[in-house]
């Protein structure tokens, strides 16, 4: 068994936090990119995302801004649609 793989359990029973290993954002076509100059830190992107992918991040050490956890983001664009100041641009995912 390769070192980076874990043994399966009957019924694929997993402990909490195991999704950290799964990185469900692996099949995204577009990714949201947040323009921190425009972002007003309103949190609407985080609240509207069904994956809870956007999170609060420091920017310039000053104002509250938002970043996206690309391990979970599916690239659906809901956040970009909801952002009141059009701070989020959906760009083609390039690996």
């Amino acid at each position: 068994m390769a070192d980076n793989k874990q043994r399966l359990t009957i019924g694929l029973v997993a402990k909490p936090g195991s999704t950290l290993q799964y990185h469900t954002g692996g099949w995204r076509t577009y990714r949201p990119v947040i323009d921190h100059e425009k972002c007003i830190g309103c949190k609407r992107c985080a609240d509207s995302c069904m994956e809870g992918a956007p999170f609060e991040c420091a920017h310039d050490g000053k104002k509250k801004k938002f970043c996206v956890n690309y391990d979970y983001c599916k690239g659906c664009g809901v956040c970009a649609y909801e952002c009141p100041v059009d701070a989020i641009e959906m760009v083609v995912e390039e690996k």
Binding site: K5, L8, T9, I10, G11, L12, V13, A14, K15, P16, S18, T19, Y22, T24, G26
Partner: protein, 399 residues
């Protein structure tokens, strides 16, 4: 002393489910399953079935979801369904097998729409055959009742951990009165220990069941379900034998055979039609016609080795399928051919689509199709697959 009663098949199933002490029963009424769960809800209301919660739901999808959730919480669960209701359950049935949650579902076999038909055939269960559930098939009321108890024991075995579907022909078993031995609670308690889940949902020790599997894990996870099915071949036999010793009734393990000594033409089917086949074979044997029966009790896992062994001396096998895999043929016919493929000296196999949507299968029908088996044996031209007694006169012109 065992108590005998002349009761309806559904009532016998409900009695059998009761003595297995399920903790949660959930179902949505659908003909011809209804009497089973009506009886159980009555038993709970009357205090006959203690420590059991009956959950009324608004659909079969929810009924299946309830038993999945209750099984995940570590309890013994039972439900019953049929036809369209079973179809509505399918998504959840896959999940339950994948999560390796045991539980028993009585499937009152019925044809599937459309056209609408409430009568018996096997399409509902056959269409569910690849969802990971073990599928057992009962011949009569007694076997249906006994199978419920065996099903819990098989599914809960630590080598298996799969849900089990007990198939019983709608109306032909569910609504038929036959003498049935009511299973004794103490004996069933000795036979079937309380369910000990391997994992369960517990707020103090949270787990995720049926978690996401990326491509590097999914194949292995599916293989594990398949492997459990293969292991079930032994467990089904063991449990049937243990049941036979304890209760004095053995109706076969993976398969059962009838009058197979020197049988040249062998009839194969599942469910209550086996009874009619036995009567037909009795009559034919009395006339010296060498014909026997192989009854399939376990359709999934498919008893490949047992069938190869049982059919060693057969010249022609006639498979009676009360189902149709559209665009192909009867499901048992296909499976049997696959099982005998590459086996040296294996018999010719004829497939018959028969008894769909409740069309009666008579002793004469059985004799007629057996004759086709003998015709084949003599080298006459016989079609390999036939829609038995298809009434072409009522088809639109040009078909």
């Amino acid at each position: 002393m065992a108590k005998m009663a002349v009761i309806e098949g559904s009532h016998a199933i409900a009695e059998a489910a009761k003595v297995c002490r399920p903790a949660v029963v959930s179902a949505y009424p659908i003909t011809p399953q209804t009497h089973i769960v009506e009886d159980i809800s009555q038993m709970i209301a009357d205090g006959e079935l203690m420590n059991c919660e009956y959950v009324r739901t608004e659909s079969e999808f929810s009924a299946a979801s309830v038993i999945l959730g209750a099984a995940a919480a570590g309890t013994r669960v039972f439900s019953a369904t049929s036809s369209q209701g079973a179809v509505l359950m399918y998504e959840v049935l896959f999940s339950m097998a994948g999560m390796r949650l045991p539980g028993v579902l009585a499937m009152a076999n019925r044809s599937v729409s459309s056209p609408l038909s409430i009568w018996n055939d096997h399409q509902d269960a056959i269409s569910a055959r690849d969802n990971g559930w073990i599928q057992l098939w009962a011949e009569d009321n007694q076997e249906a009742a006994d199978m419920i108890v065996q099903a819990f024991k098989i599914g809960e075995d630590r080598r298996i951990l799969l849900p089990v579907m007990v198939n019983l022909d709608g109306f032909l078993i569910t609504h038929t009165y036959e003498p049935v031995e009511i299973l004794d609670q103490n004996m069933v308690d000795e036979f079937l220990p309380p369910y000990e889940p391997l994992y369960k949902l517990d707020p103090k020790d949270p787990v995720t069941m049926g978690a996401l599997a990326q491509p590097e894990y999914y194949t292995e996870a599916r293989y594990m379900i398949h492997y459990a099915q293969l292991c079930a071949k032994d467990v089904i036999e063991e449990v049937a034998e243990e049941f036979g010793k304890k209760f004095g009734r053995y109706k076969g393990g993976l398969i059962d055979t009838y009058k197979m000594e020197g049988a040249e033409v062998v009839l194969i089917s599942m469910g209550s039609v086996i009874g009619t086949m036995k009567d037909a074979v009795d009559e034919m044997r009395a006339e010296g016609i060498p014909v026997g029966i192989v009854k399939i009790r376990s359709y999934r896992p498919f008893p490949v080795e047992a069938l190869r062994e049982a059919l060693k001396g057969a010249k022609v096998v006639c498979v009676l399928d009360k189902n149709i895999s559209m665009g192909m043929e009867g499901a048992v016919f296909t499976d049997l051919k696959a099982a005998l493929y590459n086996v040296k000296g294996s018999p010719d196999i004829l497939g018959f689509i028969i008894g769909l949507g409740g069309r009666d299968i008579t002793i004469t029908d059985i004799k007629n199709l057996t004759n086709k088996g003998f015709a084949k044996m003599r080298g006459e031209k016989v079609s390999e697959m036939e829609w038995y007694k298809l009434d072409v006169d009522i088809l639109p012109e040009g078909i």
